[in-house]
């Protein structure tokens, strides 16, 4: 996308600056992210960044008291978050890191049939709004408070038509949440089961509750996971962190992950990074309702990296097959993975 900005200059302190416009800046920033700026464009962005030096210094205009109020307030914020993260490091039970890899867990449940029983129990209640997506379908929902939820395929989101003090939604499946902050600081809660929910105040994150387990990935903001019923059974997530567990929330595992990796589906692509075919099969089952069989079990250990489009399942499968040098044959809802005959 080439955007040409009107050539516009201004002079300040004897230097000539090119005036930046919004589209141009966003264009340069996008390019900067993907490393596609030409040397001239990179210099243009740099010049814009530098031009701000012309503005006065904010803290110079503060009194000594104002300055120390700001210094202390900021430091306190930092220490608060630091202290919270230290807490959970201490809380992590030793030796829990044994089951690394979603893949191993997914392998054990790969051939289970999705049991939708849980869904109906709350769908029938009166005064509730229920939204569901079919296999392979993603849909963007706007909640009554303006929060946005992108629902991945084969997922159900439900909530009371009239929210009381608490904004609570229930999720089966996978959703990407952009929660807005309300003026009266009302809590937003996502519940995935009787024993697990999380509370947020204005944030972006991905929640996935599938047969294979529950997974929370936080992109921005702050969420608190409630692992049980007790007040103290909580953990606070920071951006870029993921928490997952198979059945019991208390057996959670926590790690740092690459931002966007787990929520790429909402932009109609799947991003893999050393992801095994076993994990891919889990996603295909959960989101597209496709069961996978491998002609040789070890094929499922193959790992792939890269991204594939999700709007078209056949293209997706083709991409996966390419990346892992296998053939994938589709027969209705059944996929058969076989080695490529050379």
């Amino acid at each position: 996308m080439a955007v040409t900005a009107p050539e516009c200059y201004y002079i300040k302190s004897g230097e000539v600056y090119r005036r930046m416009d919004k589209e141009r800046l966003l264009y340069l920033l996008e390019n900067d992210k993907s490393g596609q700026n030409s040397p001239a464009e990179a210099e243009e962005l740099e010049a814009w960044y530098r031009s701000a030096e012309l503005r006065p210094t904010f803290t110079d205009g503060l009194s000594a008291d104002g300055l120390s109020a700001l210094e202390d307030k900021l430091f306190a914020r930092i220490q608060t978050v630091n202290a919270e993260s230290e807490e959970w490091v201490d809380e992590l039970p030793a030796g829990k890191s044994g089951w690394y890899g979603w893949g191993k867990i997914a392998a054990a449940v790969l051939f289970l049939i999705v049991a939708g029983l849980g869904l109906y129990t709350f769908q029938r209640q009166n005064g509730r709004i229920t939204e569901r997506t079919g296999f392979g379908e993603t849909r963007v929902l706007i909640l009554p408070d303006g929060s946005e939820v992108t629902l991945n395929g084969n997922s159900v989101l439900s909530y009371d038509a009239e929210w009381s003090e608490l904004r609570e939604v229930r999720l089966e499946g996978e959703g990407y949440f952009k929660v807005v902050h309300t003026k009266d600081h009302r809590k937003f809660r996502v519940r995935t089961g009787a024993d697990f929910s999380l509370d947020v105040l204005g944030t972006q994150f991905n929640v996935s509750k599938r047969e294979s387990g529950t997974r929370i990935v936080l992109d921005e903001g702050k969420v608190r996971c409630n692992l049980g019923n007790s007040e103290s059974d909580t953990l606070v997530l920071r951006p870029g962190e993921m928490v997952q567990f198979r059945k019991k929330p208390s057996d959670y595992q926590r790690e740092r992950v690459e931002k966007g990796l787990y929520s790429a589906w909402k932009d109609h692509k799947l991003v893999f990074k050393n992801t095994s075919l076993r994990e891919v099969a889990g996603i295909l089952r959960d989101t597209y309702g496709l069961e996978t069989e491998a002609s040789r079990p070890e094929l499922l250990d193959r790992q792939i990296s890269g991204s594939v489009p999700t709007d078209n399942v056949d293209l997706l499968l083709q991409g996966v097959a390419e990346a892992s040098s296998v053939t994938i044959t589709r027969d209705g809802d059944l996929l058969v993975i076989a080695p490529r005959s050379e």
């Binding site: 201004y10 300040k12 600056y17 005036r19 930046m20 416009d21 919004k22 800046l25 966003l26 920033l29 996008e30 900067d32 992210k33 960044y49 031009s51 701000a52 030096e53 012309l54 503005r55 006065p56 210094t57 904010f58 803290t59 110079d60 205009g61 503060l62 009194s63 008291d65 104002g66 300055l67 120390s68 109020a69 700001l70 210094e71 202390d72 307030k73 900021l74 430091f75 306190a76 914020r77 930092i78 220490q79 608060t80 978050v81 630091n82 202290a83 993260s85 921005e220 920071r238 951006p239």
Partner: protein
């Protein structure tokens, strides 16, 4: 820093926070977002303190992280488009400066007057902890009172201050922290 020394961390913070904050504020002219960016940079630094290998100077690293955060903020469209337009149009807008500086002056004033209004005993303990940077133990020795009394008094002082400074949202956390890190 790499040994996880919190004193070294505090020293780094004191050395760099102001220049970082000014650099952020100049570019986005938003007080809260600037605070958030600086917070994230230091939280990140602390989280990575044992693994981070900086191949450039720490200063270059911090200002690089700052640039990255500012770019991200603008890219993520968390800044409203209309505001971005305004930001780019006006090279030396002073309005935000005045309003935002006022916020910190008010915070300082509100804190000061709340402290003045604390009951005598609580104020003394609070000031020794906050201004003289004494630990609870040191205060107990100096004032000839048990440590848990110091703790209780500090707790009461913080509770009162917190109540008084409610409208400053984050300020109450600041107070909490002074309690945690006397």
């Amino acid at each position: 820093m790499q040994t996880g020394d919190s004193e070294a961390f505090a020293a780094l913070y004191r050395k760099y926070w102001r220049r970082l904050f000014d650099a952020a504020y100049r570019r986005i002219l938003l007080r809260e977002e600037s605070e958030e960016i600086i917070q994230e940079i230091f939280v990140d630094l602390w989280a990575k303190r044992e693994t981070l290998l900086i191949s450039v100077s720490l200063e270059a690293y911090l200002f690089g992280a700052l640039r990255y955060s500012i770019y991200n903020l603008i890219r993520s469209r968390k800044i409203r488009e209309a505001y971005l337009e305004h930001l780019l149009q006006v090279p030396g807008d002073q309005n935000n400066y005045i309003e935002d500086r006022l916020h910190y002056e008010e915070l300082a004033r509100a804190l000061e007057s709340s402290v003045q209004n604390l009951p005598e005993k609580l104020r003394k303990v609070y000031l020794l902890s906050r201004k003289e940077h004494l630990t609870y133990k040191e205060i107990a020795e100096q004032e000839q009172i048990p440590v848990d009394t110091v703790e209780k008094q500090m707790g009461r002082a913080l509770k009162i201050l917190r109540e008084n400074l409610k409208e400053f949202a984050w300020a109450w956390i600041a107070l909490e922290m002074w309690g945690l890190y006397p």
